[in-house]
């Protein structure tokens, strides 16, 4: 039974369709990410859930209740904004207490819950600081505490980590996941960072130009991308043009000098998509020449010029000798490590 449901939601600004035909059911306690490049409509969708924008078409339901008639102030959602939008004239504790005040929580209970919320995000002792005297990471935590203290039905996170530096972002990701697991709040995260989406979410909604490209677990979207866009957007990938050869029996999938039994249901021109870390160097396979070899500590990155165009290969640094720049190699992969789409690659 869906907890939060978006039913064919669309949003138009004038003639421009920003979100189109967006359907999604979110289970209680689930962590969902809207992932896509800027301008794909992910923030617009989030704002419609929050109630700051009205959908042009479609319905948004929370526990089967239509949200259309409920103003944002009454939806009971917790939101962390990209800019945090903390109240600069209030201390951290006053910021966190604001939502409880609006809910007329008695003073004693309020103080207790504010203290607990700040402690949960690791800011015990910062109660009397003003936001502008805090670091970006600390402000982020105050914003999170402010959104969580009201025990929201759904927690909406609008690119909350994009203003933090890389190391802090990683720490916050882990912390965010732990907090969300502990309190079990249904969460929707908007992000353009695929690593963030993959490490945090139960399911990812990949969006492009206002439409859903794929909904799936991080593994599904990474391993079995539903479209060229998804495979390109989620990590690096190699797209090789291939053909289905029906002359031989059984039919074979051919890409350059690489061949394998053809998957069922496809014919003619196809695109073979393989992740760089799934390609190995072997005796047979796609013939290629190594252009550059980059050492990156725990792995090697090879850029190759193959008979099917440029290819990237990532090999674990397992201590074994690796081919050098200029070497002729054969690229090979297991059939289960590729995804095959009909049509020539873009």
């Amino acid at each position: 039974m869906a907890y939060l449901e978006l039913d064919r939601v669309a949003k138009q600004f004038g003639a421009q369709t920003v979100v189109d035909d967006f359907s999604l059911s979110v289970g209680k306690g689930e962590f969902i990410s809207f992932l896509g490049p800027s301008g794909c409509g992910k923030t617009t969708t989030l704002q419609m859930i929050a109630g700051f924008l009205d959908p042009t078409r479609g319905a948004i339901r929370l526990e089967s209740r239509d949200l259309a008639a409920i103003p944002p102030a009454r939806r009971g959602l917790g939101i962390v904004f990209q800019s945090y939008a903390l109240f600069p004239h209030m201390t951290a504790a006053e910021n966190v207490a604001f939502g409880l005040e609006m809910r007329k929580v008695p003073r004693g209970e309020r103080a207790e819950r504010v203290r607990a919320a700040l402690a949960m995000v690791g800011l015990a002792g910062y109660e009397d600081r003003h936001p502008r005297r805090m670091s970006g990471g600390q402000q982020q935590r105050v914003a999170l505490a402010r959104a969580l203290v009201i025990k929201p039905n759904v927690l909406l996170l609008d690119e909350p980590l994009s203003n933090l530096d890389a190391k802090l972002r990683e720490e916050m990701q882990i912390e965010l996941r732990q907090i969300q697991r502990t309190i079990g709040t249904t969460t929707i995260l908007v992000t353009h960072d695929q690593n963030e989406a993959m490490s945090l979410s139960d399911r990812i909604v990949v969006m492009s130009q206002g439409r859903i490209e794929q909904i799936g677990t991080p593994q599904e979207t990474y391993e079995k991308p539903a479209s060229a866009f998804v495979s390109q957007f989620l990590g690096k990938t190699n797209d090789f043009p291939g053909t289905i050869d029906r002359v031989v029996s059984p039919t074979q999938l051919v890409a350059g000098s690489w061949r394998a039994p053809a998957p069922a249901g496809l014919g003619g021109q196809v695109t073979v998509s393989v992740r760089p870390e799934r390609i190995g160097f072997g005796e047979t396979g796609l013939s290629a020449k190594i252009i550059t070899r980059v050492f990156q500590g725990n792995h090697w990155l090879f850029q190759c010029d193959s008979e099917c165009g440029p290819a990237i290969v990532i090999r674990q640094n397992d201590g074994k000798p690796q081919p050098a720049e200029g070497d002729a190699v054969r690229l090979t992969w297991r059939p289960e490590d590729m995804s095959v789409r009909a049509g020539a690659s873009a």
């Binding site: 929050a50 700051f52 990209q82 939008a85 109240f87 600069p88 004239h89 003003h130 402010r146 959104a147």
Partner: protein, 291 residues
């Protein structure tokens, strides 16, 4: 070597600032010092100005209740004008800030309008609107049933405050506007998502953040209103004098320059004290918002 560099670095700012500094000293500080000196000179109907050092003018201002009344009126008008501009200007700036691009620039032009028109022409316009019992404003109010008898606007403090508030409005609106620009664009959404209604949001979240803008606007409006000349001269007439018109009359009608200089100096000193004092108060009170 480094000492020479330090020396050169030490002199460079002075050298670069010298032209502006000379202009500042020449056209502001020297005349100001001369005015202050003048206020200690003696004056007589037949002997004219005598360059001596006496406290006669200052004693006269301190003891004669006439001057207390003048300064009281000046600051009363300035305070009322400031309140009126704050009460109207702050909401005006807030509404303006939420408007669409095209309407925003149109209404901004209307608000800036008073600054584009000569102060005399604009004030004479108000005189026409106010003028006597048959003034347009009184006729309108009476026909709308708001008042039964015409309100005297001309030669009253009410009229002065209204006309001054009109011309001072842009300063307040622009000052609040600047404070609104510093607001996080999501801040109202944040307040709403936490359960605050529109009125609570304005009262608890927006108001405290634009208060520094209102107060700095108030300082500008107050000091300009207290030293305004044309509007009090035309709307107030000869009878209802304020500090600025009083100084003018002493200089040009009575020809008692030393007394006029003392009035002008007192006005200046009072304004500087009020502005500097309130500025310090505001900065201390709103330290967190200003950061």
């Amino acid at each position: 070597m480094s000492m020479a560099a330090d020396e050169r670095n030490g002199r460079a700012p002075w050298a670069l600032a010298a032209p502006a500094l000379m202009l500042f000293v020449g056209v502001l500080l020297i005349p100001l010092a001369m005015t202050v000196m003048l206020s200690f000179h003696d004056w007589g109907q037949y002997k004219g100005i005598e360059p001596v050092f006496i406290l006669k003018n200052w004693r006269e201002i301190a003891t004669d209740p006439y001057y207390a009344e003048m300064f009281g009126r000046t600051f009363r008008i300035a305070i009322l004008t400031t309140l009126l501009t704050a009460l109207l200007g702050a909401p005006e700036a807030y509404i303006l800030n939420r408007m669409d691009g095209r309407w925003k620039s149109f209404f901004l032009l209307i608000i800036l309008g008073p600054l584009l028109i000569s102060v005399v022409a604009r004030t004479l316009g108000w005189a026409l609107l106010f003028g006597g019992n048959n003034g347009l404003v009184n006729k309108l109010l009476m026909s709308a049933g708001v008042i039964r008898f015409p309100i005297p606007f001309m030669f009253t403090e009410t009229g002065m405050v209204i006309a001054l508030a009109h011309v001072m409005m842009p300063f307040m609106v622009l000052s609040v506007w600047a404070a609104l620009q510093r607001l996080d664009p999501q801040i109202e959404n944040a307040a709403m998502s936490l359960g605050a209604g529109p009125i609570t949001t304005i009262r608890r979240i927006i108001m405290p953040q634009i208060m520094p803008g209102v107060l700095s606007g108030a300082i500008i409006v107050f000091s300009l209103s207290a030293s305004a000349f044309a509007t009090p001269a035309i709307i107030g007439g000869r009878r209802l004098k304020v500090a600025a018109t009083l100084a003018y009359d002493e200089f040009l009608n009575t020809l008692n320059w030393p007394l006029g200089a003392a009035v002008a100096t007192l006005l200046l000193v009072a304004l500087v004290l009020i502005v500097v004092g309130s500025n310090a108060l505001i900065e201390r009170r709103y330290a967190e918002v200003f950061r």
